[in-house]
């Protein structure tokens, strides 16, 4: 039971941490609950479909179907996170002021809620397919003791959900004026980590070069396969033995998001002189 609890806990935690950040980043936006719940539902449904077609997917693209599929999903999620952050750079400040002043939800306007819903779907889809296959394997092998394994799986889902909820609540302790700054950074790191994982998959399929299979080894410090290591991988893209191309993708994505947000922020501040800047 413990083994199945751990495997499910781990996967739920990885997806849940991403959902927690997205929830915090969309704090105070009307209609976000529907979009995010829809994203989770689409992810669960997609994971089930993906599990059913796991064999077909594996054989696609000359045996590289899994890598290409996962890498594409990650790359799309990176674009969506970038879109979200650029949008926040131009509207985050006035949104924070409105929420603080009025204390209620602000209208979403032309906010790209679709983008965050997609990120949630991608996170749940990726981790969920593994859980579905694992639980299917338990059920299919019949054998005594599988009710205990399924109980372990249920506890794993509850545990992973609980830790993700704590992260979300913890982020909410940040004052609203600062919250969007913090979540913008978290999302930039999340996107950089996803970009790095995406190119690692492509290198594994021999589609892009690795530029060095193991640039350094910090597994003695933080093992990527431990629970904390996995959480750090999901949150900030930690890798204990990164490939060269992962570093390039990570830094390029982080740089693009941070510089892009700065540029948009500067130009929107110029174009809306009637909005007084928040004292910082």
């Amino acid at each position: 039971m413990l083994a199945s609890l751990l495997i499910v806990f781990r996967e739920v935690l990885e997806a849940g941490l991403i959902v927690g950040i997205v929830l915090a980043a969309t704090q105070g936006v009307a209609g976000r609950a529907v979009w995010i719940a829809g994203g989770i539902a689409a992810g669960v449904l997609g994971a089930t479909v993906l599990a059913v077609f796991a064999g077909t997917l594996s054989d696609a693209f000359g045996g590289n179907g899994q890598e290409i599929f996962n890498a594409s999903i990650l790359a799309a999620a990176v674009v969506m996170l970038g879109w979200h952050n650029i949008w926040m750079a131009s509207h985050g400040r006035e949104m924070a002021q409105q929420i603080k002043a009025v204390g209620v939800e602000v209208s979403a306007g032309n906010r790209p809620l679709f983008a965050v819903a997609f990120v949630v779907t991608a996170a749940v889809l990726r981790e969920g397919a593994e859980i579905v296959l694992f639980l299917y394997g338990i059920a299919a092998s019949g054998g005594g003791g599988w009710p205990m394994l399924l109980l372990g799986g249920a506890l794993g889902i509850a545990g992973g959900g609980a830790v993700s909820w704590l992260l979300y609540r913890g982020l909410l302790a940040i004052p609203i004026g600062r919250l969007f700054q913090v979540t913008s950074w978290l999302i930039a790191l999340l996107a950089a980590g996803m970009a790095s994982q995406s190119v690692a998959l492509l290198a594994k399929a021999d589609i892009v070069p690795s530029w060095g299979f193991e640039i350094w080894d910090t597994s003695w410090l933080l093992d990527e396969s431990s629970i904390v290591g996995r959480a750090m991988r999901a949150l900030v893209g930690y890798s204990d033995r990164p490939m060269g191309i992962q570093l390039v993708a990570y830094l390029a994505t982080l740089g693009a998001l941070v510089i892009g947000a700065r540029l948009v922020n500067a130009s929107s501040a110029r174009n809306t002189p009637n909005v007084s800047p928040v004292a910082e």
Binding site: A3, I7, A51, A54, G55, S58, D59, G63, Q66, E67, A129, E130, L133, F134, Y136, G137, A140, S141, A200, K204, A205, D206, P209, F213, E214, S219, D223, E224, S225, R241
Partner: protein
Amino acid sequence: MGLATLPALAADPIVLVLKGNRFAPNAVTAPAGTKVRLEVRNEDATPAEFESHDLRVEKIIAPGGRITVLVGPLKPGTYKFFDDYHPDTANGTLTAIPTGQ
């Protein structure tokens, strides 16, 4: 980057068969310093996930399916792998051996 600068790729894949939730063979060797192709066949009726932290591989194998992964160039040493769904029984090692010297 010219083709000549790429590390040589070992010609034949190393084949691992999963049956009864065990790997056969469960200990293989490969030349260090070259890219190595691993082929894993799942002859069980349940899905498996071929995983190795050391080789940074995590790939699902459908029942009756097969996958290939490319790893390396590897430093000499021993690399562990396992089926993430049955890690207690389905595990093994790949040892990279220095060549040429």
